[in-house]
């Protein structure tokens, strides 16, 4: 029994060590391969060179990615949070809840390339939006919707139900309770889930290939124009072969840094928000 306990402990510790080592190795490898190209010019200039991207920088890809992400976050988070609110606070039939969960799970299982194809057919072709930030943002928004919904629902369920019922017990409507108790209490975690969804969208390539991301464009100026995006730029650099591989690692490093920085910022915000709400 004692040996069994030790083995389980060892297994758990090894898991942590392996995850930690893989993460450190991953970041270190990308940094070591790409740090030589990281410079002020690389961050703030547009790509150039005979083979596009072999010289210059990635600034339009950074701003384009941010534009796609912001659009996706707005489009994906509103229905995701409202679905979670419906499931937790309005849906009285457990069968309906199960149905919604099944639909959300099916949604999250759709391959991103299929989402891209669907968005291309509907938004780019049939609705005539063309390849633009909006079409790409919608495709990404659909992709992150289940991701945000699951987190939002978990956040709402973790809020003490007695607190919500106390507000109902005073005669307050659900809407009033949600505005004054639920959303302020869950703001940190909700924001965190939405930004993590944004990070997920920022790294996705497939839904944007057909819908809005292009090999070269200036900084985004309109929702109805195409833009560059970091993952597509990275894909194209790698596809060009050895000539642009350093630039590809540099791009990957910047992308990872943006995502990591957002994750850290969100974690700090969510913790502080949670603390502030509980200590008011």
């Amino acid at each position: 029994m004692k040996i069994k306990g030790l083995l389980i402990k060892l297994w758990a510790y090894m898991g942590i060590v392996i995850i930690f080592m893989v993460t450190v190795f991953f970041f270190a490898y990308i940094f070591l391969e790409g740090h030589s190209v990281i410079s002020r010019e690389f961050i703030f200039e547009a790509p150039s060179g005979m083979v596009l991207g072999s010289e210059g920088g990635i600034f339009p890809a950074i701003t384009g990615s941010l534009a796609f992400t912001l659009t996706a976050v707005i489009i994906g988070s509103v229905p995701a949070v409202s679905t979670a609110l419906y499931v937790v606070y309005f849906c009285k039939k457990s069968r309906m809840t199960e149905l919604i969960h099944t639909v959300v799970q099916c949604f999250s299982g759709i391959p991103s390339i299929v989402l891209g194809l669907f968005s291309y057919s509907l938004f780019v072709r049939d609705l005539n939006f063309g390849r633009c930030i909006l079409s790409g943002g919608i495709a990404l928004g659909i992709m992150i919707l289940p991701f945000i919904e699951v987190r939002a629902e978990k956040t709402f369920r973790e809020l003490d139900p007695a607190m919500v019922r106390s507000a109902y017990a005073l005669g307050c409507t659900k809407t009033h309770t949600i505005w004054t108790i639920v959303l302020p209490a869950c703001r940190g975690e909700l924001f965190s889930g939405i930004i993590l969804g944004g990070c997920y969208a920022m790294g996705a390539t497939a839904p944007m290939i057909f819908t809005g991301a292009v090999a070269y464009a200036g900084n985004p100026t309109s929702l109805f124009k195409p833009a560059m995006a970091l993952p597509l730029h990275l894909y194209l650099l790698v596809a060009q072969g050895h000539t642009s591989l350093d630039m590809a690692y540099g791009t990957a490093f910047v992308m990872m840094a943006v995502i990591l920085f957002s994750n850290i910022l969100v974690t700090i915000y969510a913790r502080r928000r949670h603390y502030t709400w509980n200590q008011q």
Binding site: K93, S94, S166, L170, G171, Q279
Partner: protein, 249 residues
Amino acid sequence: MESAIRTEDLCIVYGKKTVLQGITVDFPKNSITSIIGPSGCGKTTLLLSLDDMIREVPDAMVSGDVYIGKEKTSSMPQSELRRRVGLVFQTPVPFPFSVYDNLTYAPKYYGNRDRKNLDRIVREKLEMVGLYDEIKDDLWKSALKFSGGQQQRICIARALTADPDVLLLDEPCSALDIKSTSIIEETLKKLKEKYTIIIVTHNIAQARRLSDKVVFLKDGRLIEEGDAGTFFNSPEHPDTNDFLGGVYG
């Protein structure tokens, strides 16, 4: 004695499980009625059905009627019903605001924005639960920073700010120590002069100390009800006898 609230043939089913069957019971005005019975007998369900909170439970189906005075609660707007029937939960759950904001939450919802009026309500309700002198200098402090007993009294005061006729309490002392329990019991005894109080309790001694009337449930059925003296001293039903004698609980 005139009844403040009354149920008639109340049945409650959760999915396929019947939790309450044909409960017809009166809760007299300006008195404390304790609902007692073994675990899972439907005490809390009965309590929650009185202010329609039972409808927040998924898959709950309700039949039968609840009356406040002569008015059927099913024909009242839910908000009005819950304003008239306050509810305090088992664990103290103040909102994570200041004491002042906790106590003005309901009045503000009902449109009372006058600062002097709100100040008066806060003072009056805290005095009712015997808390004003204790915390009058900390009204802007987070309600979460007070002791469990004080938090529960804040919750009782908050329930009173909506000006209810009936106050429901679901095992309000189960998470509290002896001293806090005794303070809350004293508070409830004072409050019954103005409000009708219905309390669910697991604690037979507490029911004996507090109650004017006792309702005993078992397996979702009303086994026996009556004034506290008769109920505890000479119960009629053998199940009541067994329960009071500690044969089951």
